[in-house]
């Protein structure tokens, strides 16, 4: 399936298919990123001396160019599959997610933690049921940034034959079809804005007190 002609008309289907593939890649990458970030943040919170090393490590990973990361992950995950792209994106999100989660956890008021301990909450249950929910606004803020940049960054996968909407850039560039490039650019930006708004909405649902507090301070 590829772009027909040099105009946009008649290519809705193409853009839509690649957008769906893009969404799929982004969702899996972000879920994997969160699944990696939470245990790491837990570790950094419980053992503060590991935090600087962890931050430095996520920074170095973030400094690896995406193309290089795809190649480096290739032998482990298969050069021709989309797994290197997914894992690379998940690793990039750590630089934002780990930091935001740990900062959020550190901002949990001590009396809340003490109360949880006094009520007999063990370390893990306390983390899941008390600390993480209270830290949620920070985590959500990090997730929003991670989501927007992941959706934008996945397009690099197009240069190695993966990556949803990125394929439109690769093909549009190879065949010099300006309309295809525009379509891809707009699709990525719209997708990112919609995803951002969705997370914002879910965040308000999950942490309604945060909005109440913000409105209170603004009034």
């Amino acid at each position: 399936m590829s772009w027909n002609g040099r105009q946009f008309a008649g290519n809705w289907e193409v853009v839509w298919r690649y957008t769906l593939a893009h969404v799929q890649l982004a969702v899996v990458s972000l879920l994997l990123g969160v699944a990696l970030a939470l245990p790491l943040a837990y570790l950094a919170h419980r053992r503060p001396h590991t935090y600087p090393t962890l931050l430095a490590a996520t920074n170095v990973i973030y400094a690896i160019p995406s193309i290089a990361l795809f190649v480096l992950l290739g032998p482990l995950l298969g050069y021709t599959s989309n797994r290197p792209v997914i894992v690379a994106m998940a690793l990039y999100t750590l630089v934002i997610l780990v930091r935001n989660t740990v900062e959020g956890l550190r901002a949990v008021p001590p009396h809340v933690v003490t109360a949880a301990i006094a009520m007999g909450y063990g370390p893990l249950r306390r983390f899941v049921a008390v600390e993480l929910p209270v830290a949620l606004p920070g985590v959500i803020a990090g997730l929003r940034v991670a989501t927007v940049s992941t959706i934008s960054l996945i397009t690099v996968g197009g240069l190695v034959g993966q990556g949803g909407i990125g394929r439109l850039f690769e093909d549009g560039f190879a065949r010099r079809i300006t309309q295809e490039l525009w379509a891809g650019l707009v699709a990525v930006i719209v997708l990112a804005i919609v995803a951002d708004a969705l997370i914002l909405l879910v965040g308000h649902r999950l942490a309604p007190w945060h909005r109440a507090e913000r409105n209170a301070t603004r009034a």
Binding site: Y62, A63, I64, I67, I151, G158, R176, V188, L191
Partner: protein, 224 residues
């Protein structure tokens, strides 16, 4: 793992460094593009951030515009501008500047916001004009966060400037793409090590800047 060892060998082999396609030439190109884009972003982003922080106007629009800028895919911008203006530096420069702007603007605003309100009121009370307040008080006090923003922007730019290699514009990305295309994974590893080394070097430069530019009176506020 042997690819990694071969990569190190490739970097340390002096024969690969010189000549028009050598590591040295590509490294200089890479640094030059990154420096231009980061400087451009700082030149635009810091004044905008200072203005927003000082006046308090345009906060909502800044938050949304920077968010949209973050969503702009670098590859998309480069391909589109490249078709329009092939083989010039503009496509890469514009795309990298767009990439760098959000971090610079948002950190500058956050920097001004982090100043104690009494400090800013004191400047007003001393009869400072608006420009004196911004340049004499707010910028120096916000400097740690401003520098942090430029640093983070520079890191992203250096890693992403490799995209230039795909468009025949050189830089270290050149090695990544030829290595990828010809399955010379030792070159990919070697170029990656060089990019990471560049990022660490820039981190070190900013650590020095942080120490020399930030006034001693402001330093305790340096959290990040």
């Amino acid at each position: 793992m042997s690819d990694f060892v071969d990569g190190i060998r490739w970097v340390t082999d002096g024969g690969n460094w010189w000549g028009p396609n050598g590591i040295a030439a590509r490294l200089v190109e890479h640094l030059w593009y990154s420096l231009l884009a980061t400087a451009l972003a700082a030149l635009v982003g810091i004044p905008v951030g200072l203005w927003v922080g000082h006046t308090g106007h345009g906060r909502w629009i800044t938050a949304n515009v920077t968010n949209v800028l973050r969503a702009v895919p670098t590859v998309g911008v480069v391909t589109l501008l490249f078709v329009w203006r092939p083989l010039t530096l503009w496509p890469v420069l514009v795309a990298l500047t767009v990439l760098a702007l959000p971090a610079v603007v948002l950190n500058t605003v956050a920097g001004v916001d982090s100043i104690e309100p009494t400090t800013r009121v004191a400047a007003q009370a001393c009869g400072y004009r608006a420009s004196q307040q911004v340049l004499g008080v707010e910028l120096p006090c916000a400097l740690p966060l401003v520098l942090a923003g430029v640093r983070s922007a520079a890191n992203q730019v250096i890693a992403t400037a490799t995209v230039a290699g795909f468009f025949g514009l050189g830089g270290l990305g050149r090695f990544l793409f030829t290595g990828y295309g010809t399955q010379r994974y030792d070159i990919v590893w070697g170029a990656t090590v060089l990019v990471i080394a560049l990022v660490l070097l820039v981190e070190a430069v900013f650590a020095v800047l942080q120490r020399t530019l930030v006034s001693p009176g402001v330093r305790p506020a340096t959290a990040t």
